[in-house]
């Protein structure tokens, strides 16, 4: 009898203290009060990568909309964003300011592979959520070693595999020529493509040409690729060189099956300058609605975005895909916060971010969904191939899911 009573008392004590502890935790979460959630961010508003700075601004505009609509569970988002000029030492300083001085609850959408690399360890030592980083590198999906860091967009290697799968399926006897930018971005694509080709890579790839981002033109590389007799062309170039490559290939009468990386899939910045006629039949892999593509003009996701842009970020360009990207990811962040309910502890933030199931975002392609789990920190891993018909991208084939196929 006495024993049971003691047990009851112990259990009661444990129960009460657990409750007290839980209450204390939610009250003491850094950066969260009854009326506010502090979110930190760094973006390159100046320096060589300042074209991306618009992402940081459109996110701020979206959070303002959320606050105007009443916030999240009664809490307003206090979004603090600093300029790091894309320089990693500055990122370290600004992120330490955010975490240690401003005391943000979490870090969101810090931009760039080198800046994020510089703070990767720090964030995980401090155990501060480092969510949905804006980079295409592969290393952010490593929940075992870096349980506080999570990526967002499909990485370049995944996309390379998408093209490889299509080449193997449709053109198994082709000769493949590749042009790539000689840096991590280009090599990541190349690796994904070669991995995807597997054994066939040695036999089918007849020529690889590279260029430096500082080169004035890539005309000679295109001529070499034509002379190699390649019938499939995998074009891993940024917009400036993509325009040149499409034009030059057209001018010298080279008509391979032309795979163009997603980086250069914009109608406004690549296909129109290169000439719509020359761009016909290009193939790319997409995961977002291309905002300059006329087929989305009456799409609800697109029109909502335009309305939002006009009201909250009128100075932002409507033909800049980065503004669509920032809008999408800000919506995802808001969703995670909502899902946390009243438990905004850092542990729960990570837990909720890692339990997204088939989430659709307004500017993702129909059918492409955000999925995460405690062992999968790569939110978007699906892409779909599209062919340019001279006016717009025609989606075709199934949605490629890197997670399922690997």
């Amino acid at each position: 009898m006495a024993f049971t009573r003691k047990l009851c008392a112990v259990m009661l004590a444990v129960g009460v203290s657990t409750l007290a502890l839980a209450a204390a935790v939610s009250a003491q979460t850094v950066g969260v009060t009854a009326t506010e959630i502090k979110i930190g961010n760094t973006n390159p508003y100046s320096g060589p990568a300042s074209a991306y700075g618009t992402i940081g601004k459109v996110i701020g505009a979206y959070f303002k909309k959320v606050n105007d609509d009443g916030g999240i569970n009664g809490r307003k988002i206090n979004y603090i964003t600093y300029d790091d000029g894309y320089a990693p030492p500055k990122t370290v300083e600004m992120v330490r300011k955010l975490v240690e001085a401003d005391q943000v609850a979490l870090l969101f959408q810090t931009l760039g592979t080198p800046p994020n690399s510089a703070i990767h360890k720090y964030m995980n030592q401090q155990k501060v959520p480092h969510l949905f980083v804006a980079t295409g590198a592969t290393k952010w999906n490593d929940p075992k070693n870096f349980p506080w860091t999570m990526g967002f967009q499909p990485n370049y290697q995944t996309e390379g595999r998408v093209y490889a799968a299509d080449v193997l399926k449709k053109h198994p006897n082709a000769k493949v020529g590749i042009l790539y930018q000689n840096d991590d971005y280009g090599k990541d694509y190349l690796k994904g493509f070669e991995d995807g080709m597997g054994e066939a890579a040695k036999k089918m790839i007849v020529m690889k040409q590279s260029y430096e981002v500082t080169d004035p033109t890539i005309d000679s590389q295109i001529v070499n690729l034509k002379n190699s007799g390649a019938t499939v062309f995998f074009n891993i170039t940024i917009p400036k060189f993509a325009v040149q490559a499409i034009k030059k290939a057209h001018d010298i009468g080279w008509k391979p099956v032309h795979y163009l990386n997603n980086v250069s899939s914009s109608l406004a910045t690549v296909l129109k300058p290169a000439g719509l006629e020359a761009s016909k039949d290009l193939i790319t892999a997409l995961y977002m609605k291309e905002v300059t593509d006329p087929q989305w003009r009456n799409d609800k996701g697109f029109t909502d975005w335009v309305a939002f842009m006009k009201k909250y970020y009128p100075e932002g360009a409507l033909d800049d895909q980065a503004n669509a990207y920032g809008y999408n990811v800000a919506i995802l962040m808001t969703l995670v916060l909502k899902q946390c309910g009243n438990d905004l502890s850092r542990e729960n933030l990570m837990k909720q971010a890692a339990s997204l199931k088939n989430v659709e975002l307004p500017l993702l392609l129909p059918g492409i969904k955000v999925n995460t789990s405690p062992t999968d920190f790569a939110p978007i891993e699906q892409e779909q191939l599209a062919r340019f018909n001279g006016e717009k991208w025609d989606l075709y084939g199934e949605i490629f899911d890197a997670f399922r196929k690997n």
């Binding site: 060589p48 300029d83 320089a87 990693p88 370290v92 240690e100 510089a118």
Partner: protein, 335 residues
């Protein structure tokens, strides 16, 4: 002789404050001050070259990068203890700087500035080329060193003290170098190199040597930054870094040892204040700060302080019966 005592006391008081900071400031502030000291070392190096010797460099970011990468590669590839990498980085930059200084002898003024600028442009790209060593544009992730000998300091505090120690050592060396025979020769070359040559100064040797020493200081600063940031990447050392260092040297005060610290404080904190004042146009605000500083203190912060000091002493001298030699003859001059 009597003027030495207050100066010494002042320096001791400063050292005391610097040593006490880690126990009052947050780790973040401490990190910022560590960066100030690193910048100060780099700026002192640049100041020896530009301020004392009159050779313009827009490329010291390159030496900073070389120092950082030497340290990072030694730590990352060969597991060398970070403390050893700092002198090695300094010596290597000394050699590189000396060698670069030799052909640079033929270039004067603006042409030298352009030649060094090209160095600042080239180094980040060259770093990407040797990907096997440098990790390409992804850079190298390093470990932040812990305090040795079981000292009860966290890594931020330890790095602060380490940087402070290196700073004191290098400033002491630099001050002695510039105050002595070598320093006089270096300044003489700046003021009139024909006269200096006529006096028997080997101008080409001195110019190259100053270039080397200057690069060594900046390289040591770079090596320290590699440990403090615990990451190196080509993007860390863009052209803007070189220009920032020059801004620090000019704002702090050319041909001034203490000016390096003022300049470092300026380039560390003013951009942040500018950002706090206006998110929309921080660099415009920074520009306004720059112009105001240049207008109000044409000889830099150190020069302004010296002038103020001289003025207060003069007014005191005017009151005292016996005339004293003032430091007016040492008034700073622009180069």
């Amino acid at each position: 002789m009597t003027s030495r005592l207050p100066r010494l006391l002042g320096l001791l008081a400063l050292a005391g404050v610097a040593c006490a900071l880690p126990f009052f400031l947050t780790n973040f502030r401490l990190f910022q001050f560590t960066q100030v000291y690193i910048y100060a070392i780099a700026i002192l190096g640049l100041n020896m070259l530009t301020g004392y010797n009159g050779q313009f460099s827009l490329g010291h970011g390159a030496f900073y990068a070389i120092g950082a990468y030497v340290s990072a590669i030694m730590m990352d590839r060969w597991n060398v203890h970070y403390a050893w990498t700092i002198p090695v980085a300094g010596v290597l930059c000394l050699v590189v700087g000396f060698l670069f200084g030799l052909p640079a002898l033929r270039l004067e003024g603006l042409y030298l500035a352009l030649a060094t600028f090209s160095l600042a442009l080239a180094v980040p790209q060259i770093l990407k080329y040797f990907e096997h060593w440098t990790g390409g544009s992804q850079g190298l992730v390093l470990n932040k060193p812990n305090a040795p000998f079981g000292l009860k300091l966290n890594p931020d505090q330890w790095l602060y003290f380490l940087t402070l120690a290196v700073l004191v050592l290098l400033f002491w060396l630099g001050a002695n170098l510039m105050r002595g025979r070598v320093g006089r020769a270096v300044v003489a070359i700046r003021d009139n190199h024909i006269a200096a040559e006529a006096m028997g100064v080997n101008t080409s040797l001195y110019k190259s040597l100053v270039f080397g020493v200057s690069a060594a200081y900046t390289g040591v600063a770079g090596a320290l930054s590699a440990s403090v940031i615990a990451y190196v990447a080509p993007d860390s050392f863009n052209v803007f870094l070189s220009i920032t260092l020059l801004i620090g040297a000019v704002i702090g005060g050319m041909a001034s040892i203490s000016g390096a610290i003022f300049g470092a404080l300026f380039i560390q904190f003013v951009p942040n204040w500018a950002q706090d004042i206006s998110k929309a146009a921080p660099w415009a605000i920074f520009g306004v700060f720059l112009i105001v500083f240049m207008y109000v203190m044409p000889f830099g912060i150190a020069g302004a302080i010296r002038l103020l000091w001289i003025r207060t002493r003069r007014s005191r001298v005017a009151l005292s019966p016996e005339p004293r030699e003032t430091a007016a003859t040492q008034a700073p001059r622009a180069t």
